[in-house]
């Protein structure tokens, strides 16, 4: 059957859009990362691995490692806080779940910049936390929370927690309770049921939650800007500075490519976990 004009238009339009704004920018970024920096015209059209070489230099490497550790710790915290919470919401009375989910959605969709800013009011010297702790008599002098790496941690966990909770909820909600019962009937303890049944079956949720937290946690440059001290940096701050301050575009591109590779790795992990959990992938 000959394709109709409408079909051809739709397919060409959509594919054209995907190529123009999906593939081309990514390939250009990749290409730029292999070029040389030029002080005058920004980029010198000479193939070079110098940006990647520089990424692994000790000075830069330790900054990158620090940023990764920071994002990974924030992700782990989100997982530890979010898993029991998602479990409670998924197992709550069905009449209440829409409301509970809505309460998670609202911060999820609220501007993260505004939420970060709101955190300043909580963390500053005469903010809510310090006032409360002084009222309780736990501390005499205000704790220095603002402009510390701790504040950046709190900021990352606070803004990204809903991104962890929602996929976890989706995974836990789909969990077949019969499997848990069967495991218990066969004599498994609560703990080993959790470890051997619940965790593997909810792994796709865990991995996608971790991905949705870890990647933004590397990139949200405004959180260190607003909450952190001068020394706290995320990969995002570094990429931004290479593009806008240092004008080393190939190096910034190489750092972005590194981030894309991390995403690729996590996506591969996600597909593996989905296959293992024996479910179809939903987009």
């Amino acid at each position: 059957m000959k394709d109709s004009l409408f079909k051809r238009l739709v397919v060409t339009g959509v594919l054209g859009w995907l190529v123009l704004f999906g593939a081309v920018p990514t390939l250009m970024l990749l290409a730029v990362s292999f070029l040389k920096r030029d002080p005058d015209s920004l980029i010198e059209p000479v193939l070079s691995l110098s940006s990647y070489h520089e990424l692994f230099q000790p000075a830069l490497g330790s900054m990158l490692a620090e940023s990764m550790v920071m994002a990974a710790t924030a992700t782990l915290l989100c997982l530890l806080i979010g898993y029991p919470f998602a479990y409670i919401v998924a197992r709550a009375d069905k009449r209440h779940t829409p409301t509970l989910l809505l309460l998670v959605m609202i911060p999820f969709w609220t501007n993260t910049l505004i939420r970060t800013y709101a955190l300043v009011a909580v963390l500053k010297a005469d903010g809510v936390v310090n006032t409360f702790l002084r009222f309780l008599g736990v501390i005499d002098a205000p704790l220095k929370l603002m402009y510390t790496p701790t504040a950046v941690f709190i900021g990352l966990v606070y803004t990204l927690l809903p991104f962890m909770i929602l996929p976890l909820y989706a995974a836990i909600e789909k969990l077949d309770l019969k499997l848990l019962e069967a495991s218990r009937d066969l004599g498994a303890s609560r703990f080993s049921t959790f470890r051997k049944i619940t965790i593997p079956l909810t792994m796709p949720g865990i991995v996608s939650g971790c991905m949705l937290v870890f990647l933004p946690a590397l990139g949200m440059f405004y959180i260190p800007d607003i909450l952190g001290g001068a020394r706290t940096m995320l990969l995002g701050n570094y990429i931004r500075d290479q593009f806008l301050a240092a004008r080393n575009i190939p190096l910034g591109a190489a750092a972005s490519i590194a981030m894309t590779l991390i995403m690729g790795l996590m996506l591969a992990l996600y597909y593996k976990s989905v296959r293992r959990a024996g479910r179809k992938v939903r987009i």
Partner: protein
């Protein structure tokens, strides 16, 4: 787990999520400028907000870009979802995968790669580049939302229409589009809030000629707490809550 332990835990997590928002809301009505101490109820910060021409301009630009990019994203995203749902063609799985990858891509990588594209082709940064940035950000989410909606349809309706002689465009226009309407509106609202809330992609894809609200706020809050920003935050949170409530309602209908 004891039911009370569960409830207390859930309450604690919600308290963590909402405390800063509540604090900002309280600040925005507090006559005292910088401290938590309650100095009486006032609406002066909201009044001040309206007097702040740069903020009002930025808000107007943000609304413009959010409406336009939500509309464009909705068109492209719906066509993409329709194509994935109705057509079988070579590379369909690749299209699925790339939309998924775009959805998962960190904002900063999207922003940076578009910046490289715009610099490469020599576009000057402003309204158009920002629009392309926001559309790129939103389309995959619209596609996913609308596609999920399509999957809930009875496929025999489309077959019946085809058997009765409807051509492709008529199937799309008369059958699929009306059935997907709530999903479309939800996708539109989703894009609208995403565009309104985006900081990172806007940061890289817009120029000084077109400063949007989040970027204006960003440059203000780096210098500390501002009472009019508190009021503005409350306004933006309210807009977001309204959009979320509306889109939830539309998605829930008939699903």
């Amino acid at each position: 787990m004891n039911i009370w332990v569960k409830r207390a835990y859930a309450a604690l997590v919600f308290a963590f999520l909402y405390l800063p928002l509540v604090v900002i809301a309280v600040y925005s009505f507090n006559a005292s400028k910088y401290s938590l101490a309650w100095k009486g109820f006032t609406l002066q910060w909201y009044g001040r907000l309206l007097d702040n021409a740069t903020l009002v301009d930025a808000a107007f630009r943000s609304m413009t870009i959010a409406v336009v990019s939500a509309t464009v994203s909705c068109v492209i995203g719906t066509l993409a979802a329709f194509m994935l749902h109705q057509y079988r063609f070579r590379g369909r799985r690749a299209v699925f995968a790339s939309i998924f990858v775009m959805m998962m891509s960190p904002d900063i990588v999207i922003g940076i790669s578009l910046l490289v594209l715009f610099l490469g082709v020599g576009l000057s940064l402003g309204f158009w580049t920002l629009l392309m940035g926001h559309v790129t950000l939103c389309v995959p989410f619209v596609t996913a939302t609308v596609y999920t909606r399509f999957k809930g349809f009875d496929p025999t309706v489309v077959e019946a229409a085809r058997d009765l002689g409807a051509v492709e465009y008529q199937v799309f226009r008369r059958i699929v589009l009306p059935m997907a309407a709530p999903g479309l509106v939800a996708g539109w609202l989703l894009s609208f809030t995403m565009s309104l809330d985006d900081v990172i992609v806007s940061f890289f894809t817009t120029g000084p000629t077109y400063e949007v609200l989040p970027l204006r706020i960003y440059s203000m809050v780096r210098l500390g707490i501002k009472p009019d920003v508190n009021a503005l935050s409350v306004v933006m949170i309210t807009v977001t809550v309204a959009a979320v409530l509306l889109s939830r309602r539309l998605l829930k209908e008939k699903s």
